[in-house]
Homo-oligomer: 278 residues x 6
């Protein structure tokens, strides 16, 4: 069950409202790198968690923290929109030379939300929940979580680099730190489960008999005009201790040419497909 405090997790200040930055911040709310995504991802992973109870607790606990991040970002967007123009006249008066009237801002902050945050990304594309990765496999899910936090920290850094507002920089420095913490945390779960090697290949419960292992450890170089690059992937033992890396250059097909029968009568095809000319 969830509860709420009326104060924010961390102070959110904006020195000088900037509708352009409000548009950019939307990516951290409703982008695939954003906070709705991690909040809901950890939440759904928690609801399907099977196995070690500690992981379920961590998932629901961190989902809860991410909800607090959405809340701070939503406030940051609204603060950046305080006083934004609501008429062409007002906009022109404010800034007669330097800039286009609406260029670089999200027109739906004006039209749809009344100068407040939307559950959408920086292009105004609404977040869609197919981005919640929760597979029921704890190894795959932990990797998905590290990935999500990496993407989140890349985004927060880009926002930090863009803005020159001290309030916003302070707030983003906090988010950058928490993304660091969460990257570390999900990696620590993998470590606690015996390390990445013990988890590989994911799923580690797939019996070897279900795998054509002669195809499991070569790098396939499909480039016709270049040899495979050399590196850790081209020779030496595999990370799961089961094989040896190698390389296949310019591979030939091993399968058949695909061929289907003629179309069935009454299947909506053209006559020529049902009775092809011989």
């Amino acid at each position: 069950m969830f509860h709420h405090s009326s104060k924010l997790q961390y102070p959110v200040k904006v020195d000088k409202p900037n509708p352009e930055f409000a548009m950019l911040l939307q990516q951290a709310i409703g982008g695939v790198e954003g906070e709705i995504r991690v909040a809901m991802q950890y939440f759904f992973q928690a609801m399907g968690a099977r196995g070690d109870d500690r992981i379920r607790d961590m998932l629901i606990s961190t989902a809860t923290e991410e909800l607090s991040h959405i809340e701070m970002l939503g406030h940051a967007v609204a603060l950046n929109l305080e006083g934004a123009p609501v008429s062409y006249q007002e906009a022109s008066a404010k800034d007669p030379v330097v800039r286009a009237i609406l260029g670089g801002t999200n027109p739906r902050h004006l039209l749809s939300s009344g100068l407040a945050a939307l559950p959408e990304n920086a292009n105004g594309v609404p977040f869609d929940m197919s981005h919640i990765y929760a597979t029921g496999n704890v190894g795959a899910d932990m990797l998905a979580n590290v990935t999500a936090e990496a993407g989140g920290r890349v985004l927060a850094s880009r926002l930090y680099n863009w803005t020159d507002d001290h309030g916003m920089k302070d707030f983003l420095a906090f988010l950058i730190a928490r993304d660091t913490a969460h990257q570390q945390q999900w990696l620590a779960v993998i470590e606690e489960m015996g390390g990445l090697e013990a988890q590989l290949p994911i799923p580690n419960a797939t019996p070897e008999a279900h795998e054509a292992t002669e195809h499991s450890y070569y790098y396939l170089n499909t480039l016709l005009d270049k040899e495979a690059p050399k590196g850790r992937w081209s020779e030496g033992p595999s990370f799961d201790g089961r094989g040896e890396f190698s390389v296949r250059n310019q591979p030939a097909p091993e399968g058949q040419e695909p061929k289907l029968g003629p179309a069935k009568p009454h299947s909506g095809a053209q006559e020529e497909q049902i009775n092809p000319p011989q």
Copy 2:
């Protein structure tokens, strides 16, 4: 530039066509765990690749292989649909007692594709390209790739477990093997770049001055009725060598109560919001 051979990468056989399994296989084509996703993800990462050229070559080369996987799966779907009924009468005749006429199959294999594969998942939801993760940060991208291959191998294993068709099992064993290979391959790239520690936190080019590092290494336990679980995440050195793990239980808010000004006149709000009662 791309080229094509008319034969498949690996043989695809179906012993006994099964429209239900055709529906399930769609997830491996157009699901977020599927092959369109990895093909396009590696392709877009390649087109934005900056830095070590070997990684760009691997990305475009493996993208090319994944296109061949789509091709095999598309053929597998069509083979499973060969001879499927196209009328109620035909369907009833075939199977008068055991099963619903359309239950468990995708009606759009009948209506929309004429008994062939669709670029959609097992529910008939079309694949949408927002799932192509290509951040311009090679560390984040490699993690996204390992994650994608983990999800792909989970799915391929579930399909293998479900079917009792020998042809399909043989084909899925090949896909399972290649997913193993690709998990290993992207991890090997990270290894080649100095290992995960050298890459952390992602992005590793973010200066420490941009981070409120006092918030970077504690696990925040937002549960009101439980202490934080103990494990690798709760004490000991962090994986990036910059900090020491710790725990914060039942944290209090550090920020302000969010509060916005009244609504602007002519902003589309109610009168009460523009001139709130005192």
Copy 3:
């Protein structure tokens, strides 16, 4: 800031797991009538709330309750999937005559989530955040909230009517009650603001000079072969006290025939559109 208790808001029991009912319950999680929608709708309305602070508090408080409803429903879905078959063989053995193998269930509970809830509706369509209605106008938002709770209670009643599982009926009776409470609550906010009449027309801050009021109170009957139905809408005073209802039957157009100029050169049109024949 959000917090969490490890227990559910209300007990969730399933007497006999039923994967079909798991599929139906998804609508209450990820359907437009579902709990993700109201949780996020109240959350975003709260973040943009301007005016009476009590309303903001109610919005964030009820958003928090709705998160707890998602949590219960997610558990209900997983409990209904406990022990569901993961292979064709197992499915056939369990139920050789009565039913199709996969008919009536969501195949992605098997393939994508490992027998757990998805953030999607009963067709497997992911929830998309464009359904979060938060206009910045408190009148429009309160109506949207009553509407959402009405839709939610319709859905919960349909689920109650469908199932014969006592545990599920008990849980749904709780959700039905809370939907009643929330319908009442948002109507009470409107009442507290002076009642619906005081709020109408929404937005009530639009000056009458911005409105062609001669078009504000007639019912336009576009049916060519029927007179307008009679009722409260066809005569008597309007609800905002500004007009008198009337009816216009078989209206004639008042505007011009729309006509555009020829296409511009170099605008990608056909030659005939740029230089139309005279």
Copy 4:
């Protein structure tokens, strides 16, 4: 059956074409507050209408009017795009200093429609039909309709406030008036059915035995650091005449801690989830 007149419902004039305003007007066509939405919503409600035939007639009649609104808006968009630049050179010549070349306009008015309207919102996001709310419950549907018209009038007012074009203001004043009329009209239907109280709670056909009525009339305050706000919702009789409002502050969970069994063998989970360490 539908018919058409070649003239518009109301005159549409543009004094000075403005591609920025063309972009904004798109929200009234393809936004969730727009005219495609109400046209299709009333249409689908009409096709599923059961009960009083007058309501079906009103739904299909007003759907028909809304189609005429789309037609006028489409013309308004095209008129605002007349003469817009189709080359960088032309754009620079027109406006060498004041503004960015494409800033604040929709590039797809240039690239995709050849200077005409798109069925999309102001961000270029296509309208998606999941926003058609038609539940089969006339009470829920009427509320949804009032809500839609409230959102529509908020949007039309914002557009009116933004523009300084007299032709556009005249046209928007007409739309504002019709949105007023439709708000009134759907409320009048509720009134005709006995008023909101008679309709509550929706659905009013749900037997009280299906409801845990001890949970139907309290406001749940999940805020840990604030008492529930006082107002019409916190005491006094409920609007359906069945209960008495009250408040629950800082509620404790009443349910169990959610706990799932271990993962099934062959379900695609990690080994640790199938055989968790004791």
Copy 5:
């Protein structure tokens, strides 16, 4: 401006309601081959029509007819759902042996619409308006319209082939006929404009100087292991009278190897990308 008659364009009868067929019919309403698509496509093309006024009239007139087709299909869906079970108990009683309870039906006909049509396809995926093709180029649009009517007639034929209900067959025979008529009609517009050759290549207003015409008439055979197939495309004059068909087998790349500079500092990349090892 639009108008409406209260009767349907053509009689719609269902001899024996069938919820499975209701699900299939949804494709003709909300599928990409369906009637919402053509209604809206012709409508938006009309609103952007420049050039010959007769074409604009035909577009809006046929858009109006397609709206009447939606109306008939919506009624057909509802009639097929009359009396469908609303509880598990009722469903089991009706059909204890032959079929799964929900298999082959759309659960949201029960949960979301109360036994009526939805603006969605046969998988329950809502129609999305990006499928409205209206380019502002009348040649491209006419081809898109013929294509849409071809797809529509394929679908209507598949539905006709599936059902054994006489009422439905009679209704579908009407739709098949109208799809024939509309295929013919849009081809006749092309004929009236001088025939396909005069329209080619589309857009025909593109000056030849904008085209690398040495690449305009060869078939590029990218297959490594097969010669180009011979046919009308491999030799003889092109259809626009400007060139001669030919073939290029196993083409070599003509361009450079793509190569980007290192990542910019402060662009969110990894350190290795900003300062790549030499």
Copy 6:
């Protein structure tokens, strides 16, 4: 099976990077007129191809070419973004007067891809695979392909018209030429199958007995205030040689008034719908 060369199909040069043009080029990658669409459309048609094997070969071969077009466009986008500003300060310094900071560019080129291409259109809307038209009917598919190439050439011409960059003009002239070639090629397939007349109406295998042919050849003029326009569609023989064109003006409905029974008990409707007042 697919293969790759490390060089591009055709040289791609950018004389002067322009982030605005990078945004516009996105339409040719991820728009419905773009290259992902044709690549995947031909690919899926190939996988479902039944009938003449030459067509399957052409489909997979041209799909392969289109993948090479995506590759060139992705490189063109990245080249146009080389050196784009990553901070507000840098952006202001570069261009203090002329333009808005972010106006006219895609903010997610900065935030999400690190100055590289996205699989999205010019508004940042991700490509969705429902636009892959592959019906299993070769006639419908060939028309869809000509349509797609017509839309593609319209777009390429608009991009050519917009830009003043010589490198980009040279590259676009190549794309314009290949779109010409592909329009010709798919028309040649229709010619090879006996010409359009032999293919009409599509599907040509639908028996005439399935069609109410008395409705197959009239143009229905639903306009109340105008006679049907005269032209090739209003008289003369139909293109399939089966009928004679004619016209029906101001048609009257031939069907019944739609009417549904009352709502079922326990179907979630209002009481008034279940027991309507007499």
